[in-house]
Symmetry: C2
Subunit: 171 residues, 2 copies
Amino acid sequence: METRWLDDDELNTWVRLVAMVELLPGALDSQLRRDSALSHFEYLVLAMLSETDDHMLRMTALAARTNATLPRLSHVISRMERRELVERRPCPYDGRVTEVRLTESGLATLVEAAPGHVENVRTLVLDPLSAEQITQLRAITEAVLSRLDPSGAMTAPYRRPAVEPAAPPHA
Amino acid sequence: METRWLDDDELNTWVRLVAMVELLPGALDSQLRRDSALSHFEYLVLAMLSETDDHMLRMTALAARTNATLPRLSHVISRMERRELVERRPCPYDGRVTEVRLTESGLATLVEAAPGHVENVRTLVLDPLSAEQITQLRAITEAVLSRLDPSGAMTAPYRRPAVEPAAPPHA
DNA sequence: AAAGATTGACTGTTCAATCTTC
DNA sequence: GAAGATTGAACAGTCAATCTTT
């Protein structure tokens, strides 16, 4: 088959997208590590747990919500367990399942970290964009994720859980 | 200072952007490793070298074009040197500088890998987007990179180097 | 002293293999 | 045997320290 090479417009877009994808994770990690001794992935774990009613999620569900593989998540949870940010416990109804629970100090850590992180997200990504561009970006990421994430876990509209106003924010 | 939490629109966009940024690198790596025994970063190194007249770049310049830190690049180049994809040589004019040169077999590897990679980029990112969205995405990534990449190396419009038609494509 | 680059130790990720429960 | 999860080894990235040349 003939290869359809990228034209100038496509190439320009692609080159920048690659740069953004390469640089953004490091920028998120830096701020969180410096200010809260957390990686961005660890922050996501805490945030996802905090958004459930009982501050609990099984490994598979947590992996889906953090876009992670199970082995990766398992290693991270082990480290976080040593730091007492989360706890593991076997599910009473299904012996194969492990449930992860947010601890008091895990929640406290999240609550402390959230404002700085949100500030960083605004500075790096949201502030440079117009309201219109934010809308465009949602549609664009949605389209790309439909290819990238066959499970479609992240393609459905994200719903903030119905919790108390004081609940720690996702981002 | 009062934290300005994300509203639903902002949160939805942000959640998806995070998912995309998390999933895309893995998807690029998988295809290239499977079909060409190359990481996406190694592919970028080969591509950037191939686009210069003499197939050569100093470490600092190569690091800028691949969005990498110097230590990271140095490690990667060491591995690629063992596989004879590139060569290191001291700059004759400035003893501090190391120049990296693409080898014959490095170029051959790139030429073989390029079609599959471009195909993958189309499938995962470009095809799901309309022409209009591709234009929007360029402006969006440009705006974000202006914050993320102070050097502005990637913010300027990307120019394909003036080379022979048969030259291996960047992406 | 600054610029360019490298090194080594540490941390984190990936992959295949494994284990247990259903 | 499939689902849920964990483990260990191999691999890649990060950070601080170092080295050389200017």
